[in-house]
Symmetry: C2
Subunit: 390 residues, 2 copies
């Protein structure tokens, strides 16, 4: 359905499969090198060891593992495929945002070289309207209930639920989406052929039926602690916003939340009882102003909108950057001054758009080159820049 027959893959696909096997993500030097010389030439040079020092550091240990074609075959055997930036279904906007954030200093803000995908859903289409729902593995009954309800409600509204398939909040969110027979994407820290956690084997199968199980890691790769953190950037990037349902004081969900903010996506947190240890992280995010409070699916949709997708189209079509802005975004843009910064509160009043929505739209306009943050708030970008093309 997607990509060519497994028996006859294009050279660029084999090259990227090889490079994913060779370099442990994130591999910033290799990603830049591939962008510079193309995947096929990059793979050849890596294989021969004729690469710049930083790329050699990332590839020399495993460059002898010439398993690109074998990995493609192995993936096909479990119903998986390799989706690459050369494919139409590649979610280019979400991953471009990672590069943009990296240029601004986000450590590890590196797009994947390609993604192993098991599932029927087209990845790009699913990422157009997607929200990451994350939280504690040791979720309370309350957290699991809320995650299931949100997963079900979002998926029913056609919004893809992106999460990490872990126990607790992740699993509950996927389960809610699957129950609604709606789109959901599980991003794994191991190969897409590995059932991890083991108790979620059936769930992973159902996710693949309704959406996709994806990973940067080649078939057979086992999960490792550091891979969960590296994986979290993809969850944040694929979600147009991130909802933290429950998080303890030092939850891994906080890393996804931090990346989400660095990407300019809206970060949302669910209030819970202040007597509950698993809501402490959420309340910290609310108190610091990093996250906006959400209590319902409608509030999540209001806060995230679908502007990201619209802006991608704009950049690609080389039209005027503001042409396709939807209603709220256009009003927020109109409320910006080119001369002086304005506070989100002021802009909300000017535009007649609810403050949480304004807070969600401003960073997206920024990524689209339409708005800039300044010391006194936000102003209109002097000359709209097209969004970066890969």
């Amino acid at each position: 359905m997607h990509g060519p027959e497994p028996g006859n893959p294009e050279p660029s696909r084999v090259a990227r499969a090889y490079l994913l096997r060779v370099a442990e993500p994130p591999a910033p030097a290799l990603v830049d090198f591939v962008a510079e010389v193309g995947p096929v030439r990059a793979a050849d040079l890596v294989r021969e060891g004729r690469v710049p020092g930083p790329v050699a550091d990332e590839t020399s240990a495993r460059r002898h593992l010439d398993l690109g074609r074998a990995d493609l075959d192995e993936a096909a055997a479990v119903g998986a495929r390799l989706v690459t930036p050369e494919d139409e279904e590649w979610p280019s906007w979400p991953f471009t945002a990672l590069s943009v954030a990296a240029a601004r200093g986000l450590r590890g803000g590196v797009p994947p070289l390609a993604l192993w995908v098991r599932g029927a859903g087209g990845l790009g289409e699913m990422a157009e309207r997607a929200v990451a729902v994350v939280g504690s593995r040791a979720a309370s009954g309350y957290g699991q209930h809320v995650a299931t309800e949100f997963g079900h409600g979002l998926a029913s509204a056609g919004v893809t639920v992106v999460s990490g398939a872990a126990y607790g909040v992740d699993g509950a969110a996927h389960r809610g989406a699957v129950a609604a027979e709606g789109p959901t994407v599980a991003v794994l820290a191991c190969g897409v052929d590995i059932a991890y956690p083991a108790g979620h084997s059936t769930l992973l199968g159902r996710i693949a039926e309704h959406g996709a199980v994806v990973s940067e890691y080649p078939p057979g790769t086992t999960p490792a602690r550091y891979r969960f953190l590296v994986r979290n950037r993809l969850i944040a990037a694929l979600g147009g916003g991130t909802v933290v349902v429950e998080a303890g004081a030092r939850s891994g969900a906080r890393s996804t939340a931090a990346v989400s903010r660095a990407l300019g996506r809206v970060l949302m947190a669910v209030p819970g009882p202040i007597t509950s240890a698993t809501s402490v992280g959420c309340h910290e995010l609310l108190r610091s102003g990093e996250a906006v409070a959400v209590s319902t699916v409608e509030e999540i949709i209001e806060s995230t909108g679908r502007l990201g997708a619209d802006l991608v189209d704009l950049g690609a079509a080389e039209t005027r950057a503001t042409d396709g802005l939807d209603g709220d975004a256009a009003r927020v843009y109109d409320a910006l001054s080119t001369r002086s910064g304005r506070s989100p509160e002021r802009i909300a009043v000017e535009a007649g758009v609810p403050l949480p929505r304004v807070r969600a739209l401003l960073p997206t306009l920024e990524l689209g080159g339409l708005a800039v943050r300044c010391t006194t708030g936000w102003r209109r970008a002097r000359a709209p820049t097209p969004s970066r093309e890969r």
Copy 2:
């Protein structure tokens, strides 16, 4: 202990007792009239009906009730006294803030003419470090638990717990403070001699032991629905900040919250389960950005600080307005520019003071005439103005 012997009250005290009996609060025209001609002359003119039209409208129906001295005797019989702006214990700063807010358009922003007080605590002293803790009458077990804990923790830290003695959150907050043998003030919508609600008769007695039961309404006045809303402005004014523990979608606590914000006080809301109807109002306040989330007594104290009291001293002493600013306030003031507005976020970074604390301090600096809100954020007032004296 406070004020003169009941048998020999000063003319101004008798005059104010009479005026409280005659005019239904809030009586803005009468309050202005008293400020203009003084309480004794105002009482004489009201008694004779020789007053301007707006004052007549507020006083003509009851001006024949010449019960000032009788009310003072009746109050004394139940251990209560009348505290007036002429008394040292009058909390002038909190009530000046009401006038300031009224000048900016707060409807009903009218200070009381005097207050009936039953209890051992000096009112001014108790108001120096005070927080209003309010919420739903139909509080859940969770809300009552949180209110009791907060009441206990605040009072233990020497912070006066101000509330309305109602069932639910109010009563729980007072009860916590009383259990800590700490200061607490109940502001009633009826006479201080009336036990309302009836089930709180014992609690009201214990509040009077540890703090004060106060009211604008003369002895014997029964509660009426509109008096609760009128009363709420005094709760908001006496609290250096307001914590909403639980509130439904249309809770009366929202009116206290609105006044608190109009007074430039920090508004706080307690997160709760999103599945609970009694937390809906709190979550709305958080989501709109009107309130900051608080989960602990320490966070409440951090958000409110004790700047209000410091600024009163400054105004009264006619020293340089910035002389007595405490550490954080001075740093926030220093981080303001005289030329252009800055966002609270920017100021927090410049000052190295946590954002919630900055958000709490800015409105207080504003009331102190040190900072002004502008379209792009906050800037330093060009020439510090002394705080208004009554």
